[in-house]
């Protein structure tokens, strides 16, 4: 699931948790799910390292090489 999908889900969970009619059991399940999604997003943010590349043309094909 993408970061955007996770964030969308977290926002949905927050909205659901605002519902006063929501049972405590459901609430705890949603909360645990939300915390897990938040953890996933933060882990993903910290684990991905972006690359800088340059397009090189070889004959008729293009390829990405590391840009120094």
């Amino acid at each position: 699931m993408s970061i955007d999908d996770n964030i969308k889900k977290i926002n949905e969970i927050n909205k659901k948790l605002e519902n006063p009619d929501l049972s405590i059991d459901e609430g705890i399940k949603l909360y645990e799910n939300g915390v897990s999604l938040a953890k996933n997003v933060l882990e993903e943010l910290n684990s991905i390292k972006g690359k800088v590349t340059i397009i090189k043309k070889e004959l008729e094909t293009y390829k990405e090489e590391v840009f120094e």
């Binding site: 969970i13 909360y31 933060l42 340059i54 397009i55």
Partner: protein
């Protein structure tokens, strides 16, 4: 008879009206050599000339423009009017620029108008820049500060974003074609989410490729959201009008495209705090309800106990009454037992009395006894039979 003469003012107003209504003299560009240039009261009064003539000009708000030197060739844009009060012809200038630059500017204006009419700048054609891009395609020179600035700003804001550079010449012959090819390349390159076309500041001549139709057309047809980040804040090029978003500088372009990772992390952490508060509130509510229920239960138990105590107390009262009744009855029973003891036949026979039986029936009167009757005498410790010999009454 009417006056055959007209006033100076009437003549001047008549002349002024003729000039003002002449379309050919309105909003025109005139080039010429500056032969004099004086500033007074914020306005510039100057003459431009060519080999066959001279034109008096006035530039209102002259401080907004660089003052030309005597002998410079300039392009002046304005309208010819007649200054009725002074009785002088005047070329009212809105803007001036060096002549060479002026030609480029004219070309720029013409292309801009043409592309605008063709819908290249239409707002409805523009697309939004994605809020969370993963990969940015950059069309710019591979040398120089621009690409370094873009990389630095992007990585400072978000080191998860990939950057891919399509290297191009950004000025000079053939630069326009290379830039257009770069845009076309990224237009069909699935990996990138957005394209930045960038170059640093420079003269209008340096910006020429970004004012070309070929670049404008590639930008217009680009299938990816496109950001122009050309020159400085005050420089506007054709691609700025075609792009989906115009950034005032290359660094600003990176700022606009690269979403801030720390802001997202903060938002996520805040979301978790909100979740915690929501669930804590729910738990508080539940705890409150439980405490209320417990209090209700305690009250009910208290009430029940109170009721039982009252009932028990009543029962104890009743029991004491029963006790008293029992005491009275026990007394009576004792009395009866004493009486019974008193009349116990065994006790009487033990005193020497004996019971007289005829068969199994007790003989209670002498009248029931006759001579020769066989009677049984029952003692406390045994019996005997005897014959009646004599009866006395």
């Amino acid at each position: 008879m009417s006056d055959p003469y007209i006033s100076v003012s009437q003549v001047n107003m008549y002349i002024k009206n003729i000039f003002d209504s002449e379309i050919m003299l309105q909003d025109i560009c005139v080039f010429g050599e500056v032969s004099s240039y004086n500033i007074s009261g914020g306005n510039a009064y100057f003459n431009i000339k060519d080999e066959n003539g001279m034109l008096s000009c006035v530039l209102f708000g002259a401080s907004k423009f660089d003052s030309p030197q005597i002998g410079d060739m300039i392009l002046a844009r304005g309208s010819v009017s007649y200054y009725a009060k002074g009785g002088r012809l005047s070329f009212n200038v809105y803007s001036i620029m060096p002549y060479g630059r002026g030609l480029l500017y004219e070309k720029f204006l013409k292309l801009k108008q043409d592309l605008e009419e063709r819908g290249y700048f239409a707002q409805e054609h523009k697309v939004e820049i994605p809020s969370r891009v993963k990969k940015i395609g950059v069309v710019t020179s591979q040398t120089g500060a621009v690409i370094r600035d873009i990389i630095d700003v992007t990585q400072r804001r978000n080191d998860t974003i990939d950057i891919v550079l399509y290297p191009v010449k950004v000025q000079g012959l053939g630069a326009d074609r290379e830039i257009a090819l770069g845009i076309d390349f990224f237009s069909n390159y699935d990996d990138v989410d957005v394209v930045i076309v960038a170059r640093g500041g420079g003269s209008i001549e340096d910006m020429e490729p970004f004012n070309s139709e070929i670049v404008a057309t590639s930008a217009y047809r680009c299938n990816k959201p496109l950001v122009s980040a050309v020159g400085h804040e005050t420089d506007y090029t054709i691609i700025d009008f075609v792009a989906d978003l115009r950034a005032p500088t290359p660094s600003a372009g990176a700022e606009l495209v690269a979403w801030d990772k720390s802001v997202l992390a903060d938002n996520i952490n805040n979301s978790v705090v909100v979740m915690e508060k929501s669930i804590a509130h729910k738990i508080d509510m539940m705890q409150g309800n439980i405490e209320y229920e417990i209090e209700c239960l305690n009250n009910s138990i208290d009430n029940l106990l109170r009721m039982y105590c009252i009932n028990a107390s009543n029962s104890i009262d009743k029991l004491s009454v029963i006790d008293k009744i029992l005491d009275v009855n026990t007394y009576k029973i004792d009395k009866y037992i004493a009486l019974l003891e008193l009349y116990n036949p065994n006790k009487i026979t033990a005193m020497g009395y004996s019971k007289v039986l005829s068969g199994d029936c007790a003989v209670r009167s002498i009248k029931d006894v006759k001579v020769k009757d066989c009677l049984t005498l029952s003692f406390v410790d045994g019996k005997c039979n005897c014959i009646v010999e004599e009866v006395w009454v």
